[in-house]
Amino acid sequence: MSVSRREFLKLSAASAAASTIGVELLAAKTAEASPALQWTKSVCRFCGVGCGVMIGTTNGKVTAIKGDKLSPINKGLLCVKGFYLHKVVNANNRLLKPLVRKNGKLEEASWEEAMSLVASKFKETIEQNGKDSVCFYGSGQATTEETYVANKLFKGHIGTNNVEGNPRLCMASAVGGYLTTFGADEPVGSFDDIDHADLFLLVGSNTAEAHPVVYDRLVARKRKNPNVKVIAIDPRKTPTNKIIDLHLQVIPGYDLSIMHALANIVVKEGYTDEQFIKDSVSFSDGKEAISYEDYKKFLEQFTPEYAAEKCGVNAEDIVTAARWYGQAKGVVSLWTMGVNQRKRGVWLNNLMHNMHLITGKIGYQGADSLSLTGQPNACGGVREGGGLCHLLPGHRAVANEQHREQIAKIWNVPASNIAPTPGKHTVAMFEAIASGEIKAAYIMCTNPAQSLPNLNKYLQGLQDCFLVVAECFHPTETTKMADVVLPAAFWSEKDGVYGCTERRSQHQAKVNEPKGEARWDGDILIDLATRLGHGKNFEHFQSPEDVWNEYLLCTKGKDMDLTGAPYSRLKEVRGLRWPVPTIDHPGTDHRFTAGDPLFPEDKAAGRRMYFYARPDGRAVVFARPDLGPHEPTDDEYPLALSTGRVLEHWHTLTMTGAVPQLVRAVPECYVEIHPDDAARLGLANDDVAKVETRRGALDLKVRVIDRPRVGTIFIPWHWPEKLANVLTTDAYDPGSKEPEYKVCAAKISKA
C-alpha cells in the first residue's frame, strides 16, 4: 500500500510516540528510522529538570527532535517547551552579524570592529574609573564553560567581583537555604526519590505547567500507589490541582507561619525522629545555637489557629497536612519561585528543610527536600561554577583566602588578583548602572531589561551605560538598548555541559555549525580577554572541552567533585550526579549518607547521616521569625499581586491572529482576578483594567477566574508590550539578595 509523504510522516510521528511508551505501533519503515537521519543525544535547554533530547539532523541541518527514551529523567517524554527547541536554531530572526550603535542606530559591523570597540571601551573605563566600574551579567542558560570563562576573565584577570547571573533572580534563596541548613548548596537526593515517596509537599510551585515531566512522575507515583498524597501550599489554583489532595490556598507572603505550625503539630503529636535529631541535627535561632527544648518552646506560638488566621486557611487542614506528613514513610518537598522569590526566601527554604530534619525524612529513597530550578544550567554553571558575585568555581567563596588561592593557582594569576569581598549582587549591580557607578556592562544570554523587578528604575541606566549584549537573537528588550550586540551560537551549535536540579551534569552536543557569523560565547569572551591583554591564560582554550577540563580541576576534592565526568564519559552516559570523583564512579544518589563517596564513615560513627559540609556534621533546624511580605496590602493598595508563568504565555501577541478552528485563541497579557473581587469592583471578563502599584501601572484585559484566592490578583509576566515587572518590587531577601517578585500590594480599577 502506498502512502503519501504526509501520511508517511504522520505514521513516523505516531510510531515515535508509541516507541516512547514501549509500544511497537508500526512495522513499516518510518522516517524516524531513515538512514539519512542522524540522531545525537543532547539535553533540553529550557528548565532545570534536565530532560534528555535527541536531535535529528540531515546533512548537517536540524530536521527532527524527540525525547530521549534512555534519559532517566524524562524517559522519552518532552514538554511543549522542549518540543520547541529545534525551531530557534533555524529561526530567521537569529542574529547573524555583530551590531554596533552608530548615530543612535544599531548597524551591522564586522567582528573586528565590534570587538575592538568593546575592548577599547572596557579598557578605557577600567583605566579611568577602576576595575569595579565594569560588570558581567550572565545566565543560567549559558553553559558551564561559558560562565567559567567569564568568571576567569572578570574575577581573575580584570579583578572585579561584579559578576552576576540571572539565577540570582530565581534561585538564590534556595542556595541560601541549602547552605545555611546543610552547609552545602544543592539537594541531598534526586528526582528518583519522587518514584518512592508517599507524600509530596508542593509549595509555590505550579509543577504541572512549569515542570511537566516532574509532574508526570508525581502522577505516575500516585497512580502506582493510590495512598500517596499531595499537599499544596499556594495562593493560586493551577492545573497541578488535578492531583492535589489538600490545598492550603494561602494569602501570599505569610506561609512561614504554616511551616512552623506543621512542625509544631509534628512535634506535639510525636511524629519526630528523635534518634535522627539526636544524631544529625542542631538548632539555631539564626543568631546563635539553641537547644531542642528552646525550639519546641519557640514552636508553641505557632498553633494551627494562629497560622490559619494569618494565612487565611482552615486550621483543620493544617492539622491534617501535618499528620499526613508525620505518617508518611517518605516525603518529597518540591518548591520553586513561590518560595524563592520572597523577602524571606532563605528562611522559608530553611523551614522546608526543618520538616525533613525533625522527622528524619531525608537521605533515603523517597525522602528529600528538593528545590526545583527554572533554568537548565543555573545549578551547573552559576551555582557550581561560581557565577555570582560572592562565589568562585567549585562551591567556593571569594571571601575565603584559601579558596582564592586555590582558584588563582588554576587560573595562573596571583591570588591578589581576586578581590576578597563580594561584588555587587544583581539589584545592586543594576542600581550602580542606573547611578552611573558602573559604566560598562557585558550581558550574556539573558534579558534583564524585561526580567528585572521594578523595571522603570533601571531602564534609563541601561540606556546610558556602555552596554554589550551577547545574544542569539535580536531584538530583545535588552539588545534594543545595547551599544554592541554580539551574535552568539545557540544550543545545538555548540558543545557544553548543563547541570540540572538533581546534581546531574549532562553533555549538550554540537550538531550543526552556528548560523551566520555567530560564535560560541566562550570564544567571544576569550577574544575579549586577549584584546584586554590576558590572552596567555586563555589561549589553551581551543574548544569547550578544554574549558571543561580546566573547570574539573576546580571541582577535584570538593563536595561537587566532577573529576569522573570528562567529555569522553559525558558523551556516552545520560549524565552523572556528583560527587563523581573517579572515572569508574557511578555518581551519587544521596549525599551525606552511606553511598556518598565523601561520606566519612569514621566521623559518622554509625550515624545514618553525617552532614560533612558542616563543622559538627549536623544540619541546622532554624527557629526563624514568621515575617510577612515586604509590602503588605493596605487600604490604598488592598490586593496582593503575584506574577508568574502560564503555559499559554509562550505565545505572543504577534501570534494571536489567525488561530485555527481547533484551538482557542491565545490570550494576550491579562490579569486574573477572583469572581468575588471582580463583582465587588464591577469588573467583567475582557474589561480593560488599570493595575497599579507604588511603582507603576499597566492596563490589562481582565480574566475573571477562581484561580487566585480572594484578595489577590495574578499577572503572567512575559509580554514585552506589557512589562509586568514595572509593577513588581525590587525589595530583596537580605541573605540571598533575591527580589520579592511574588508579592506586592496593588489596586485595580476599570480603565
Partner: protein, 92 residues
C-alpha cells in the same frame, strides 16, 4: 506544515471518552489508546504554536487529562523552518 505526535496521559478509565473528544477537535488524528491508557495523537498544523495551544487546551479543559507530552516533530518541508523569535525571547 508541521507534523507532531503527542502522548496524552489520562486518569484510569477515561481514555475512551477523552479520545472521542480529541477526535472532535479536527486536524488531530488518533493512533489509538495504548499501554497504561496513553492516547497517541498526531497533529498537523500550519504554525508550531498551534501545537502548544492544543496541549494547553487539553491540559486545561479536561480534568482527567494528567499530562500532554509532544514527543516527535517533523515537517513536510526539508528543513524545520520557523519564524517565531518571540517565543524564544520569552524563554529569557
Amino acid at each position: 506544515m508541521f507534523i507532531s505526535s503527542i502522548i496524552v496521559k489520562v486518569n484510569p478509565g477515561t481514555a475512551k471518552e477523552i479520545e472521542k473528544e480529541i477526535k472532535k477537535m479536527g486536524a488531530l488524528t488518533s493512533y489509538g489508546i495504548h499501554k497504561d491508557e496513553n492516547i497517541i495523537i498526531v497533529a498537523e498544523t500550519e504554525k508550531l504554536y498551534e501545537v502548544k495551544a492544543i496541549c494547553s487546551q487539553l491540559m486545561h479543559n479536561y480534568k482527567d487529562v494528567t499530562g500532554v507530552f509532544p514527543t516527535y516533530l517533523t515537517s513536510d518541508n526539508d528543513e524545520l523552518e520557523e519564524h517565531m523569535l518571540e517565543e524564544e525571547m520569552e524563554a529569557h
